[in-house]
Symmetry: C2
Subunit: 361 residues, 2 copies
């Protein structure tokens, strides 16, 4: 896969869609990636199978409150330092970088980092979507240690942690990130090439780009949502997808608490049927229920797009009266295993409902 | 200097006195040190001048809420891990360990650590007393970097931080320690032998022991406070000392907030003169004012002892009606320089009063 600067707008749009309402606004990430590419050149994008089994692959991501991520951005030096610190601690130079989540801003930060570091970037990630906590990733499900993990801030303070569990790392990094100004750069889950091949969700950078392109194409053709759905049906993971609701927001409760944007919104059907859809979120959209019946549930993707332009709408941008189409989209098979559901299934978010795949709903 | 297990009770008592009300109860530290010595043998105690200038000397301390320190203790493995992590990060094995503060529990933890690690322990520390925050140490005043610093907990989670300032390290370690259960083991301010010689407060382990012995001797002779004062007058730092008040507690306000034990107590004179002394504390006693006039002020030591037994009374053990003698004691000269006062003089604790040496009050 080859990327151009012009492609970044579509990657960002696709990443916003896969961010299912969360993951941070990719716009600022796109600006950072663009400027890094202009200075250092476009990084090489490689496929997992191109990695040696014993290659050293580091993740790179922003972590914190999405609103702050968008405001603070990253200086570049903080990204470089996070990679340097994990390299020092591991005693191994990176052979490649990989996004930990393709959804939202963390699709873009690795492009920036790979450009600055002159390292190849792997076309894959650890979830094929976005999730709010660092233990919620396939690498953790399949036994890759979350730590050592390096954390840096814009003042170039740094930290390397080693913990007994990813959840413990999450707790520590969360308080640290708040103290560091609600947004930090982190490199966690140091991986081997073999682990990337076995546990990553492959090809997601390509899919983010192509989702963006499908929306753009659809706008020219006059049916952006249809174009998006048609494209998703051709993908290896997102092929089970449907528009589960077409409505407008009639109620919205959204609060920032415990470091997350939490709440729910209610949509009323535009077809006059009187049907309503309730969508609950914790950074990301987690569950959509039509008059009490589950229509889509995490880890499958619940996505909201503008009903006319198919622009993905993040939780932060939800507004009363907004007219949206809500999509349910299948997650990658590795995200739906029993082991994965134990880590980021509905119960991990405090939901009572069991996971049922979108194609069975 | 040679220590025996029997000496530890007196070192602990002297350390409690030098802790000026804070620093954590040395009792639990004494138990930990005793058990480590029984298992691994008594560590060698060396003087600063015995170190090579380029020797590698690491500090080791507990940090957190004093009440929790006393309850949680340290497993030993957490202490070993803190030293291992700083050694790994620095790429240098320790040649010796040194207490960062002689007051309170952190006089004892380095004895335990040195026994476990079979390393010499330096007869010196970074303040000759106790202080609540990690930037409040001569090493920081004279330009030694607080970081890299390693932090571990009893579950053997670990962290190594590097920050631009000791205050930044303090802020980060404080939130981390709360998340880690309000008590952690830390190795900060990695030192060279030369830095120990130049910036440490020398001989404080000996003085802690001898303070304890003076109190013990005084009890046999019937005048423990007098024995204590007589001994202090023979020391190189604590020689300016006086009993500034003899009274009983008539008012006590003590609260735990922002991670510290803060408040003040009021004493009424026992001689019927109607005089009162107000002592303000933040973990440690900071200032003693008699009817509004300063009698002793930080960084000089304000110490409270039982008026009959000279037992040092920590802030946590203050009680209404308690009969106490309050002592003002000179800090080491290196603690009273302009540079030192900028870091841990009265203003660093939010006090309005200027520092005036005890001998000038």
């Amino acid at each position: 896969m080859k990327l151009s600067i012009a492609d970044l707008a579509n990657v960002a749009r696709g990443a916003a869609f896969l961010g299912t309402g969360g993951g941070g606004d990719p716009y600022i990430g796109r600006m950072l990636a663009t400027s890094a590419i202009q200075e250092f050149g476009m990084p090489q994008i490689i496929e997992p199978h191109e990695l040696d089994d014993d290659a050293t692959v580091y993740t790179i991501a922003m972590l914190g409150a999405p609103t702050v991520l968008s405001e603070k951005g990253a200086s570049g030096e903080d990204v470089d330092l996070a990679i340097k610190r994990i390299e020092q601690y591991m005693g191994k130079k990176a052979d490649a970088l990989i996004p930990i989540e393709i959804g939202g801003v963390n699709s873009m930060l690795p492009i920036m980092a790979a450009a600055r570091q002159n390292l190849p970037l792997v076309n894959a990630d650890g979830m094929g979507r976005a999730f709010p906590e660092i233990q919620m990733v396939t690498f953790n499900v399949y036994g890759v240690s979350c730590t050592p993990a390096s954390i840096t801030d814009e003042h170039l303070n740094s930290m390397v942690i080693e913990t007994g569990s990813a959840k413990r790392a999450e707790d520590l990094v969360r308080v640290t990130s708040i103290e560091m100004g609600c947004s930090v750069i982190m490199s966690s889950y140091p991986l081997t090439g073999k682990q990337v091949k076995d546990y990553a969700v492959h090809g997601t950078l390509t899919m983010a780009l192509e989702i963006g392109q499908a929306i753009e194409r659809g706008r020219k053709e006059g049916e952006p949502v249809e174009s998006l759905v048609n494209y998703l049906r051709t993908t290896p993971y997102y092929n089970q997808c449907k528009v589960i609701f077409d409505g407008k927001i009639t109620d919205l409760r959204r609060e920032t608490s415990e470091g997350f944007t939490q709440g729910h919104c209610l949509l009323s059907a535009l077809d006059g049927s009187g049907k309503t859809l309730e969508v609950t979120f914790q950074n990301e959209f987690l569950i959509a229920k039509e008059d009490g019946v589950v229509r889509a549930i995490v880890p499958d993707l619940v996505c909201m797009v503008d009903r006319e332009t198919a622009e993905p709408i993040p939780v932060d941008a939800l507004k009363y009266g907004q007219r949206l189409k809500v999509l349910g989209v299948s997650a990658a098979p590795i995200m739906r295993t029993k082991e994965s559901l134990a880590v980021f299934g509905p119960q991990a978010f405090g939901l009572d409902e069991e996971f049922v795949a979108i194609e069975d709903l």
